[in-house]
């Protein structure tokens, strides 16, 4: 057992008072049932009623969020697309592809964030508004972490481009400046606005030189005295060597240019060019990478990682990925200045700067209230072949473990369970087992839903589950007196035993009513008839009636005989069949040949033999076969009307039957 990383959080269930009554619980797949037992605590003297409710405690609460459903659904498509993508691509195109996937995930997070933001704005209820706002901040933190992971692990940019990506990252996530600039530009004289210099400084801190220079122009035009100073600063900003992604410059070239530019800035600062304007001097100091000056602008940067990136931009523009963590740690320390301790988000980002993927995932799992983030991020990193060495001491690898957790959460949701199926599919070790266990627990309210579940099982050759679903549906149909439906379900499941059971119900109904129900089904059984002997008999017996009704006596007679001689008919039904033979024997035409008649006789003897074996002698006369009174073939009523009375005892049958035989 490993040590606990953090104390597990306490979940308070207000109604359940463990002081008074003992609590019992039962684990579900991702949920837990908790309730009071009848037992009181030993120290408790008087009897007090416990809480009458059973509570369901869920661990993945976010699954039930309305806005996050969009996130789950949209990312599901991206996830499936990623798994299906061929892995042949190597090198750059593969990286580009994975970065594209990563960006799609991020855009989904952003879309969801916007939605939550809209909800927060439009919500009237303050509780709801707070909830949505929290959602927005969580999503924005998720996107921030993801973006950094994308830069560090997926893109894995070398020195040079790395800084450009980090700058973009900061620009994207620290966006207060844009609002500030808007305010400044909207004012009548921007250069006089209180935030004018703040705006320029932020642009500089973020390395957005063009925008900073544009603002600086306003100062130059508003304040003619400072024109020359502005020009010099503007020139410095313009000259700042920038690395372009498309450029083929070597790092040494850049470093050389950088040094040159640095010296120039230094010169201007030392000869007091900006001495008369402390704001411009500050900017010049920032350009020179003066860490203290940069740190003074802490409030403008708002976060330590902004400080880190600014520091890198002006002090170490060609920082190598492996050196990042040094600067990251010291930036964090300097920025916080011992005043406050780092928050979970800071620790996660720090871990990312340290290239410690596992720490990132672990911290995220602890800090976030959902599995969505870690499951998808881990999966993506796994596709970058970054996680292969790591196996857990339980379960499969980390990717699969997290995907299973996430998908299990989805599966317990009344509607999102469909998404989970695909996640299980891509968990090679335990996915199948999880799916089998979960899918049987889906409530099948309608046939439509059952068909969907069935399709999932059939596609994955889960024959046990297919059988079980069909059986459930067949049982439901039987309970609702829908024999036809029940039979179709058992045919679909190829469930011979159940088909036999239902066929017996059909035959029993026939015996009781004298007519077949559900003819549209029985007449069209086709090859499905072969599923069970009883079903074959049902289908064939009905065929006999149909032929008889159509006056095709010869084939009807032959079929009837075959049903007995081939032992398809259940023995309990033979007497009914023999009775059905009577009207055929009565026809003016000779229908049964001599041989066939002998066979009929033999069948009758067989029946009689079994009867006498089973019954006492005295019972022979009164042994009435349950069905004989009403089992005349359909449409035969008129034909036998001429008979004085219908034979209804076995004894009478024998006599009558024998007499027909003799006539022949």
């Amino acid at each position: 057992m490993e040590e606990l990383d953090v104390e597990p959080p306490l979940t308070l269930i207000p109604e359940l008072n463990s002081e008074q009554k003992q609590i019992c619980f039962e684990w579900g797949p991702v949920e837990m049932l908790v309730c009071n037992t009848v037992y009181k605590k030993p120290e408790q003297k008087e009897e007090r009623p416990g809480c009458p409710f059973i509570y369901v405690v869920r661990k993945d609460q976010d699954v039930y969020s309305h806005t996050l459903r969009k996130l789950f659904n949209e990312s599901h498509g991206i996830f499936v697309g990623l798994q299906k993508d061929e892995k042949e691509k190597v090198g750059k195109s593969r990286t580009a592809q994975l970065v594209r996937v990563s960006k799609s995930y991020r855009s989904v997070i952003r879309a969801c964030m916007e939605d939550s933001h809209q909800m927060a704005v439009s919500a009237r209820d303050p509780v709801m508004r707070a909830q949505h706002s929290t959602q927005v901040s969580i999503l924005s933190a998720m996107e921030l972490i993801w973006n950094l992971c994308e830069i560090m692990f997926i893109e894995a940019a070398p020195a040079g481009p790395l800084l450009l990506h980090l700058l973009d990252w900061v620009r994207l996530h620290v966006c207060d400046v844009d609002n500030m600039v808007c305010d400044v530009l909207k004012s009548e004289s921007p250069a006089k606005h209180e935030n004018f210099w703040n705006a320029i400084t932020i642009f500089v801190l973020q390395g957005r030189m063009d925008e900073a220079r544009q603002l600086l122009c306003k100062e130059a035009s508003a304040n003619p005295a400072s024109i020359s100073m502005c020009k010099i600063l503007d020139e410095l900003m313009k000259k700042m060597p920038v690395l372009n992604l498309g450029n083929t410059q070597t790092l040494t070239e850049i470093e050389l240019k950088w040094q040159h530019w640095h010296d120039e800035c230094q010169r201007f600062l030392q000869d007091g060019t900006f001495a008369s304007n402390p704001r411009m001097e500050t900017i010049c100091k920032i350009l020179l990478g003066d860490e203290n000056t940069i740190l003074e602008k802490k409030d403008l940067m708002t976060t330590w990682y902004h400080f880190l990136v600014t520091r890198l931009l002006y002090c170490h523009p060609t920082v190598k990925p492996m050196e990042l963590h040094l600067y990251a740690q010291s930036s964090l320390d300097q920025f916080l200045g011992g005043e406050s301790s780092p928050e979970p988000l800071d620790i996660i980002l720090l871990a990312a700067f340290e290239f410690d993927i596992h720490q990132v995932i672990k911290e995220c799992s602890i800090a976030l209230s959902n599995w969505w983030f870690v499951a998808h991020l881990t999966d993506l990193l796994d596709h970058c072949s970054l996680l292969q060495s790591h196996n857990l001491y339980f379960g499969s690898n980390m990717r699969e473990y997290l995907l299973l957790e996430y998908a299990s959460g989805l599966f317990c949701h009344h509607s999102l369970w469909q998404l989970a199926v695909d996640y299980f599919d891509y968990c090679p070790e335990y996915g199948r087992a999880y799916l089998e266990l979960h899918i049987e627990r889906i409530p099948l309210d309608t046939e439509h839903k059952a068909l969907k579940v069935l399709r999932i099982c059939e596609q994955r050759m889960m024959s046990d589950q297919v059988r079980s679903i069909c059986k459930i549906m067949a049982m439901k149909a039987v309970r609702n007196n829908r024999l036809g439906s029940a039979l179709s379900w058992s045919i679909r499941a190829k469930d011979a035993a159940f088909a036999t059971l239902i066929s017996d119900r059909f035959l029993k109904d026939y015996c009781e009513r004298g007519t077949f129900s559900d003819l549209d089904l029985i007449d069209n059984l086709g090859s499905a008839m072969l599923l069970s002997d009883r079903l074959t008999f049902l289908g064939k017996y009905r065929e006999f009636h149909r032929m008889y009704g159509e006056k095709q006596f010869f084939p009807a007679a032959k079929l009837l005989l075959t049903l007995m001689t081939a032992r398809i008919a259940p023995s309990s039904f033979w007497m009914t069949l023999l009775t059905d033979a009577l009207p055929l024997l009565e026809q003016k035409e000779v229908i049964f040949s001599a041989d066939q008649t002998y066979e009929l006789m033999r069948c009758l003897e067989d029946v009689m033999a079994t009867k006498s074996k089973n019954k006492t002698l005295q019972a022979t006369g009164s042994c009435v076969h349950g069905g004989t009174q009403t089992t005349w073939p359909m449409g035969h009523g008129q034909a036998v009307d001429g008979q004085a009375s219908r034979p209804n005892t076995v004894g009478a049958h024998c006599v009558q039957f024998a007499s027909y035989c003799f006539i022949i």
């Binding site: 809209q118 509607s415 998404l419 068909l451 179709s488 089904l521 499905a528």
Partner: protein, 371 residues
């Protein structure tokens, strides 16, 4: 596809239907209704994709469908049909059939009539899912898992006529053949014609797929040539039937890998047909090439259509759907979805607009079908 707009709606969409446009109107349809399923609380929602309403709060036009109004619906929405411009009939998995009224002046929905347990099992009277409806105002036919067919009219509180045990298996869908005759499909692969002028509980004709007993899930009739009927089955096969002759389908066209949930002839260009399926694909079947005599392409959209069988049917009227000359009857098929994931449960076509809804909790609108 750039011309398709998507919207995630946080509920699985079981049905999408365009509100009918007046025959005289020239503009494309703008309003559609959707129904959800499998949610704890299901909804009927009305959406607009109109250009003017598309202006968001920020003033920019996204073209995304936006919600006009919605109303709670108890049970899964199994089917949805517009009775007229403002009334929608919904079938519920709890057997209830409801008429909702859409008040367009203040964008609200209300219940205008409700038949509780229109479908139920006997003798327990426990509710049975109502699976399909078809209406021709004021008549409404409903079918259900109980094998029953009901005829309601919008004005009356009780059923005009009920055929108990009309079918021994589950009825999956219903449509009009003629004003007095309806077509139903069931879970054992049968297509039945019912004539409501006649008394009795028997269909006037039964068609079936031979021996296979593959359940049929949807049915639609050619808008102009009433003898041509299309059905979609569990195995993803689209069957075209000629109900004037034979009891077997005139042709079987294989396109989908799983349940074909809905099939629709284009109401005004019936040489075009649309199908959607559990496998997440949506196919556009274009038979107009054949008529115009253009050279048609079999291999568009990545997959070719396979012709499984043709019964020899002599045609007096030339219709590409029943044509039996193998060299001639080519239908161009295009998959309208590039990367399928979850089931497309429903689609509707009107004018040049297509709307469809999925189990991935999203609705899509494509406004330029024939571009």
């Amino acid at each position: 596809m750039e011309d398709v707009v998507a919207k995630y709606v946080s509920q699985k969409v079981s049905k999408t239907r365009w509100r009918p446009v007046p025959a005289t109107a020239l503009q494309p349809p703008e309003v559609f209704a959707t129904g959800s399923w499998d949610n704890e609380e299901n909804n009927i929602s009305i959406w607009s994709v109109g250009d003017f309403e598309g202006l968001g709060l920020s003033g920019e036009y996204h073209g995304e469908p936006h919600l006009l109004c919605d109303i709670q619906h108890s049970g899964d929405v199994m089917d949805l049909q517009f009775l007229d411009q403002e009334r929608i009939v919904a079938a519920s998995s709890n057997g209830t059939v409801t008429i909702f009224k859409h008040h367009q002046n203040n964008e609200t929905l209300s219940v205008s009539r409700k038949w509780e347990k229109a479908h139920h099992y006997n003798p327990s009277y426990s509710s049975a899912s109502c699976t399909g409806i078809v209406c021709n105002s004021p008549e409404i036919f409903t079918v259900g898992e109980d094998g029953k067919i009901n005829l309601f009219t919008a004005e009356r509180t009780d059923a005009v006529r009920t055929l108990d045990n009309a079918d021994s298996s589950t009825l999956h869908a219903v449509t009009y053949l003629r004003t007095t005759e309806i077509l139903t499909v069931n879970s054992i692969g049968q297509l039945k014609i019912w004539d409501f002028r006649q008394q009795g509980n028997e269909p006037s004709q039964i068609f079936s797929l031979t021996g296979e007993r593959v359940p049929l899930h949807c049915v639609d009739r050619h808008p102009n040539q009433q003898h041509i009927v299309a059905t979609g089955g569990q195995d993803g096969v689209l069957s075209i039937w000629d109900v004037r002759q034979g009891s077997m389908p005139a042709s079987l066209l294989k396109a989908h890998e799983a349940e074909l949930w809905e099939v629709h002839f284009h109401p005004s260009s019936p040489d075009h047909l649309f199908t959607c399926s559990e496998d997440g694909s949506l196919w556009h079947w274009d038979a107009s090439m054949d008529v115009s005599g253009k050279k048609s392409l079999l291999h568009t959209g990545g997959r070719s259509s396979t012709f499984l069988s043709h019964s020899a049917v002599n045609q007096s009227i030339i219709t590409p759907w029943l044509s039996n000359d193998p060299a001639k009857d080519r239908i161009e098929t295009t998959n309208l979805i590039s990367s399928p994931t979850l089931s497309i449960n429903s689609l509707d076509v009107l004018r040049s607009c297509l709307v469809y809804g999925t189990d991935a909790e999203s609705i899509y609108v494509k406004k330029t079908l024939f571009a």
